[in-house]
């Protein structure tokens, strides 16, 4: 049974007055991730926007234990936490590694792949703001085609984004889920489910970024919704290899068609001046994935 907003727990583990930018979707997502985890967890976080949100010494804005680690090392650190907790008889604590898309798709992918291949008992959450936002919006492996970043300043990125959940699926891990803070109950339910599963659980959260994507901070939730409406983000989960669309993506598959990506692109400054053929390339990439998702979802109904 899907949780409703009214039923989300009141308890907050992320404290106000933190260092995140105004309107940051990470704040929304992180709040609900923490609510779903319920406190009995240890986080490990590499260099990222989340490090900034977490705060500077000697104060912290989060009421869960947290270990900062070097950029490539989130999943290795999680492996160490899991091993250390087992060795010291504290296996009941959920270990969570949470990193950005750069820390996941690029510099952290080796450690992540290793930990997933070992089926290490932890949850890995990638919040995907589609570029290196903490260092000033440089291109990452997860940046979509056409997006201008500070390292693709004139023409925008020339390549499609890496499909990281698919890479993780090739590891045969027990749970994979995508999410977006614009759909907080879907996110909450997926984290809840992940907590109850043993082995490596990979969660990929789309995280709209007002400053990097160049839209007004008030529109963060709407941009996330638009991403799902046009299929740039698809909400799904893969449990023991079984693929299911969830939440709004499930409804979109049942009821109707995706919105054209053009509209989603037009409201973000990072795509300003994007050429028609790039939008077409983006649209055909989205269509291809969406068809595949619908097919896989139908196979499992």
């Amino acid at each position: 049974m899907a949780t409703k907003i009214l039923d989300l727990p009141e308890e907050e583990y992320m404290l106000p007055g933190n260092r995140a930018c105004a309107g940051c979707s990470l704040g929304i997502g992180f709040r609900h991730i923490l609510k779903a985890l319920g406190g009995n967890c240890i986080f490990t976080v590499p260099a990222s926007c989340l490090t900034v949100l977490g705060g500077m010494y000697p104060t912290s804005s989060v009421k869960v234990p947290w270990m900062n680690v070097v950029f490539p090392s989130s999943a290795a650190a999680a492996s160490g936490l899991v091993a250390g907790l087992k060795a010291t008889g504290r296996e009941d604590i959920t270990v969570v590694a949470m990193a950005g898309d750069g820390g996941t798709a690029d510099i952290g992918i080796q450690a992540l792949s290793g930990a997933a291949e070992r089926n290490t008992n932890f949850i890995y959450i990638c919040y995907d703001n589609e570029a290196y936002m903490n260092t000033g919006t440089q291109r990452s492996g997860s940046t979509p085609i056409g997006a201008r970043t500070t390292t693709t300043p004139a023409f925008g990125k020339q390549q499609q984004a890496k499909d990281v959940p698919k890479i993780l699926e090739a590891h045969g891990i027990p749970y994979i889920a995508t999410s977006c803070p614009s759909f907080p109950t879907d996110l909450y339910d997926k984290v809840k489910k992940a907590v109850g599963i043993k082995g490596t659980r990979y969660m990929h959260m789309c995280a709209p970024c007002p400053s990097g994507w160049q839209f007004p901070a008030k529109d963060t939730v709407e941009i996330g919704r638009m991403a799902v409406e046009c299929g740039a983000v698809v909400l799904y989960e893969i449990e023991d290899g079984v693929f299911r669309l969830t939440s709004r993506s499930k409804k979109l598959a049942e009821q109707g068609e995706l919105q054209p990506v053009r509209e989603y692109v037009s409201v973000q400054g990072r795509f300003k001046g994007i050429e028609d053929e790039t939008i077409e390339a983006m649209q055909s990439w989205i269509n291809k994935r969406w068809t595949e998702c619908i097919k896989r979802d139908a196979e499992n109904r």
Partner: protein, 88 residues
């Protein structure tokens, strides 16, 4: 080794140029007189809105992003300039 505290980055309310103003006559929870809606609470990136009827914002830390006004289905929240005279 850091310890948790509210206002890690100081009074982040100072970052604000606009602030949310609630019209309780429009708020669905207030009108119903029971827990309802709570979209503003759920979507607040700061967690400065309480999950209570008769919603209040902790203006010490509200960064004024305006998400609450956008997600409110009843149009009960408007963003008003921080330095303007309060209309109330």
């Amino acid at each position: 080794m850091s310890t948790p505290c509210i206002g890690e980055a100081g009074h982040t309310g100072d970052w604000r140029s606009v602030r949310p103003k609630f019209d309780e006559t429009k708020c669905l929870a207030v009108k119903a007189g029971r827990p309802a809606c709570f979209q503003c609470w759920a979507y607040c990136p700061e967690g400065v809105i309480k999950k209570e009827i008769g919603t209040e914002v902790d203006l010490d830390y509200c960064k004024g992003c305006g998400i609450c006004a956008e997600v409110c289905p009843a149009g009960a929240i408007t963003m008003v300039p921080e330095n303007a005279e309060d209309a109330e």
